[in-house]
Each structure stands twice: as C-alpha cells, then as structure tokens.
Symmetry: C2
Subunit: 375 residues, 2 copies
C-alpha cells in the first residue's frame, strides 16, 4: 500500500519532487509536516488544515500513549478517525520525548521513564513502540532509537549507536510481525552524533535493511555548516529510491539546505510554537530574510494601530481579513483567537513555501528560488 | 438608515418576526446576539461566525474603551473593519460592567471606576458613553443607565430609576448631536428593579422618547415567574413598532418565554462561556430538556471512549466531524482546539434554535414548537 515515486530530479542539484502513496492518500514531496502532538495542531481544526492545503501531519507517540492511550485511540478507529484527518499521518517512535525527560533510565533492552502528567512509571522497548504505533494507526511510523545529546563524545556516541542499531533491528522484526496487512510503512533512523564515520556506519546499516523510508535524527541545524556536512556525508550511503525524512528540521534556511541535498519530508514545531509566542513568518518580498529568520514579532507595541495585514504578500485568509492592529489587540487582551489566527498564518507560510519549492524543482529552477530567499 | 419592519405577527401569541435594517445589512428577528466582549467571539473567527449563520454580534464598550481604546478603534476604521465583521453590531453602554466592579462611585452626574486591567481611574458619563460608542461605530448602541442590584428595596430602586431616566435623556441628547448622519440607532433601557409600578413608570418614560429601539434591563431570568411578570407588565407600555431587546437574556426557556411575549433580540454570554466550561447544548430529540437545561457536560469521564458526536441531531460541522471522545481528549489534554470546537457547536445550537423559532412564528406554530421544547 506504501510507495514512493520520484516525479522529477532537478538537474542542477539533488532536489527532487515525489509522491508518497499511503492507504490514506498521497503526500507530495518535498513536504513540511506540521506536528499535531496530541492529535491536534494546537488551536487549528482539521478542516482548517485542509483549507491551508497540507497533505500530512505528524503525531507524537509518547503523548498519545499516555493520553488518551493507544488502546483508546485504537477502539475509536485509529488516529485518522479520532482526529478527523483522512490523509497521511506520521507518528514518531516516542524516543525523542522519552529521552528529553528527567529520570529516564536506559538499559540495553528497555527505557524506563516517568509520565510528565502524573509521574507514573512506564517502560518502552522497540517492540512496545511498534505495538503502540500500530494501535495508533499512522501510515508512516518510525523505528525506536536512542536520541543522544549531539555533543556526546565519540565513545558514548559509538556505544549509543550500537544500541540504536540493535533497537532498530528489533523494531523492524516486530513491525514485520504486526504489519502483515502492509497498512503501515516503517522508517529507519540514521544516528551517529557529530561523527561522520559513525553517521556513515549508521547510514550503511539502515540502508542494508528493508525499511520503507529512511530518516536522519539528532540534526538540530546548529551549527549550520557542521550539520550540513554530517547529513551530506550520511546521504551518500542511503538509498536514493526511498523517501528521506529529516526529523525535527524546519527553519526556512534548513528547508532549502536539505531539499537541495535531496531530502523529501520535514517535521518541526517551529511555525506553530512560534505562532503562539507571537512570531509571524514573512516572505522575502515583505522583508523576510536570513537575518530576521523570516519573522517579525507581532507583540511589539509599534503595531498597535497598524492597519496593514501580517504580510501584505501573503494570500492566507488571515492576511486577507485581519490587520496587525487586531492581532496585536487579541494578544494584549489574551484572546484565544490570537493563537488560531497566528497558527493559521504561519502554517500557510510553510505550505506555500513548500509548494513553491516543489514547483521550482519541477521547473529546474530550485537554486534560483533558493537564491531569492537565502543569501 | 435604521428601520424595523415586522414581517409576521403570530396569531396565537405575541411572537413576531421582523427585519432590522442597518447600514451594515439586515438582522432577522427574533435573534440571539452572541457577545464579542473584546471585539472577538472568544476562540471563533468572524468567518466561522458567518459559517454558523449569525447576523449580528454585541461588543462591550467598557472593555473596548480600556483596550485597545475607542480612539484606536476609530482610527482603524471602527469595529466592523477592526474585527472583520461586515454585518450589524451592537455595543452596550458600559454601564453593566462598570457597576459590576468594586470601588465604583456613583454621583448624579457621573460614575467613577477603576480599570480591571491596571487599576487606573476613569469616569463615565452618559455623554462619554455616547461618544465612545460613536467612535466604536456599532450600528445599534445603548443609553447609559444605572444597573442596580435587582434585590434593592423600593426607595433605593426609585431613586436609581430617577437617575437612570435623567441619564437616558442626556444620552439621547448627546446621541442626537453626534448622530447627524443617522449612522447609528439608539436603544432606551427600561429599569425599575423588582417593582411593577417602577417598571411601568420606566416603560412609559422610555416610550415617550424618540429612541430607535427599546430594551429591558436587569432581568436575569430568576426567579422565572417574577421576571416574566415584570417584563410582561412593562411591555404593555412600550411601543409595538420598535424593536425590543432583552439585555443579558439567553437561557433556552427564557428565549421561548420572551419571544412569546414579543421580544425581538437577546444577548447573552451563556453559550460561549458554558462552552469554555465544558457544557454542550443538546436538542430535545437528543435528550435536552428544561431539567438538564439542554446541556450535558463533556468533561465527564464516561465520554472517554464515546465515538458518537456531541449531539447526533445537530447539523454543525463539529458534530459531523468529531466525536465526544475526541472533544473529551482535547479537554483533558488542555488543547486550545477544545474551546473553538465547543464554542462553534454551542453557537450553532443557538443559531439554529432561533432560525426554527422564526420559521415556526412565520407559520403560526410558535406555541407548538415551544411545547416540543419546554414542558
């Protein structure tokens, strides 16, 4: 049921467009995948997500396992029915969240952690992560890996990588058992910290296994050059015919960097989280650039009586209908509508950016478009 | 620019349908007017309000005077432009809020109060209320009155009524000065506390003045019979050809009670506030009745795995798309989407109820419909 077709390979770089086919429809790549942590894009309905034009979302396994629980989601027909999103869904493995918590204990066979909700004790294993993700029912799921501090030393990273690879093998085995009906697709994850040779080892290992897709983890885009070098190195050893997901990547310049190298999908909380903090994304025609990170802060008092839209070059319904002054007022008045209007605009910015990236790639002018955005 | 046409008079009671014409379009009556306190229906966009099908909203002068300020709203083109609502708007006089605050001091010529935002001192007079409401630019505005405790004794109420009448006269004079272009319509307010003779005196006074509309204030619907008796008594002395607004009224049974007596419009925070508290309105076919006040509480744990919609007889998009279990999850997970889905459903319930009331009135079967809802 899962397939990936490359529809166009740019002639001037590795950028490419493609179509990921899933049991819940198609996902056009390169794509930005908004994060619906608790089975909702914070403040935005699935109808609004459709209106913006997204093909897919990513939900967090850790959060949904704790609340409402994987069994509950399964009983209710799986994530698609539960959250009224009849399009492709990704879930992550739960690893990233579990390793972000205090008091998490890692053994070779399992991870023990405490719930952030009620401090109750829980155990994740690669098998458990697969079972939970099966119940949640996403179309694309991820192998369970150890997310290590990117600054860990060589020895620590090497040991962690060995464990991650063992866990990914166990994930794959469990997945194959559960996925006889081929309803889900499994992505392997390349780790290896800051060390090109470990990234290479990891990429080769992942490439050797029958994963449906591949992904690169623990690249946080900073420092920029080192991140890019690590990804570029790893990508040489990854299969060209499988979709490549970049975990947690989503700043505007990173999207250009990794699309150029050949990445297909990206998930990140950036546009939604920054929206709630008052940052709006603006296009280059409206003054957005790498220095201001394509953002301005709407909570600045200078916007109190500004009747212009958030971005005069934006085509979203928020920019057609509301002024900076009104959004500023909603922020000052602590109104709930602030969050949904801001989130809608930011997500629209990302949806349109990716649409333009796909378009320019189709027309062999991706680098030209990149030059207009990044300098 | 303002007119009121009665389009149908029920033959079996005083219920009637009508059309209020304003510079921003028409308002079909009887109508429920949702409250957009700070120039927003909490958690809902103006596009969503259009989708639900409301003709008008009511904004609070006190709140908008303090933030963002009447001058700011005026500079930004008035409330309609500011909040992207190109349909009729009411503003209240600010009186009700000011009299709800601690430390409010009342003299015959003015009211002194402290801002709930920063404790700064402010003064309202009838003239000031008119000037602020002019700047805000609503289509229908209210005279400045004293909102007294409904349980005040006869002497206190009588004195307060004399002051209210003096203030309403001053409101009218100032309004006539400001409204040479006839862009706004002014409603007088009947007060008089719990005393039929004072209600009568007030109704006669208001009836004698050239207000565009009339309204009845300080009826909180409780105790039900006494409230009804007071309104019924006052209404005998009010002109039949002016629209009658019921301030702060909005429970389902009260809507039936006062539509039956001939009231045309109602404003109330009930559906929106209760939505945020977790109460959903349900129709009689779904078990709604006067005992449960047409509500059920979605935050009850029994809904955790309930895949049915909020109300299986509701036609709103929330009920078409989401389950009780999902809304329950959003509540437990403290997700922002909870507020907008709940608010959308409750407002849709009220919009449809009023549509059905108008329809049944047109067809001389209002009492029949009432019997189906209230027993």
């Amino acid at each position: 049921m899962f397939s990936f077709i490359i529809t166009r390979q740019e002639t001037n770089c590795n950028a490419r467009t493609g179509i990921i086919q899933t049991p819940h429809g198609t996902l056009r790549t390169p794509a930005f995948i908004p994060v619906a942590t608790q089975a909702t894009i914070k403040s935005i309905s699935s109808e609004q997500m459709n209106e913006i034009g997204f093909d897919a979302v990513l939900c967090n396994t850790y959060h949904l396992y704790l609340r409402p629980g994987a069994d509950t989601v399964e009983k209710l027909g799986g994530l698609h029915t539960f959250m009224n999103w009849n399009k492709p869904i990704f879930t992550d493995s739960g690893g990233f969240q579990v390793f972000s918590l205090n008091d998490t204990k890692v053994d070779d066979d399992k991870v023990t952690f405490k719930s952030h909700i009620d401090s109750s004790k829980h155990i994740f294993t690669p098998e458990k992560s697969m079972q939970i993700q099966r119940k949640l029912g996403a179309d694309m799921i991820f192998a369970f890996d150890q997310c290590l501090d990117i600054n860990a030393d060589y020895e620590t990273t090497k040991q962690s990588l060995a464990r991650t690879h063992a866990w990914e093998l166990r994930s794959l085995k469990e997945f194959q058992k559960l996925n006889a009906d081929k309803k889900q697709a499994l992505y392997g994850i390349v780790q290896g910290g800051r060390f090109p040779e470990l990234r290479e080892e990891s990429a080769k290992f992942i490439a050797s296994l029958p994963f449906d897709g591949v992904s690169i983890g623990s690249i946080f885009g900073d420092p920029k050059e080192e991140s890019k070098t690590l990804v570029k190195h790893a990508m040489q050893f990854l299969p060209n015919n499988k979709p490549l997901h970049m975990l947690g990547i989503g700043s505007v310049d990173d999207l250009f960097t990794y699309v150029e190298l050949g990445a297909d999908t990206f998930d990140c909380v950036l546009p939604t989280r920054l929206a709630r903090m008052g940052y709006i994304f603006i296009r280059p025609e409206s003054g957005g650039n790498t220095t201001n990170k394509f953002r301005l802060k709407i909570t600045n008092a200078s916007y109190k009586e500004d009747s212009s839209s958030l971005d005069s070059n934006c085509t979203c319904s928020v920019c057609q209908n509301y002024s900076k002054a009104y959004i500023y007022h909603l922020f000052k008045a602590k109104e709930l509508l602030f969050y949904s209007l801001m989130t809608f605009h930011n997500l629209h910015f990302f949806a349109r950016l990716m649409e333009e990236i796909r378009q320019s790639t189709e027309e062999d002018r991706f680098l030209e478009m990149k030059k207009k955005w990044i300098n």
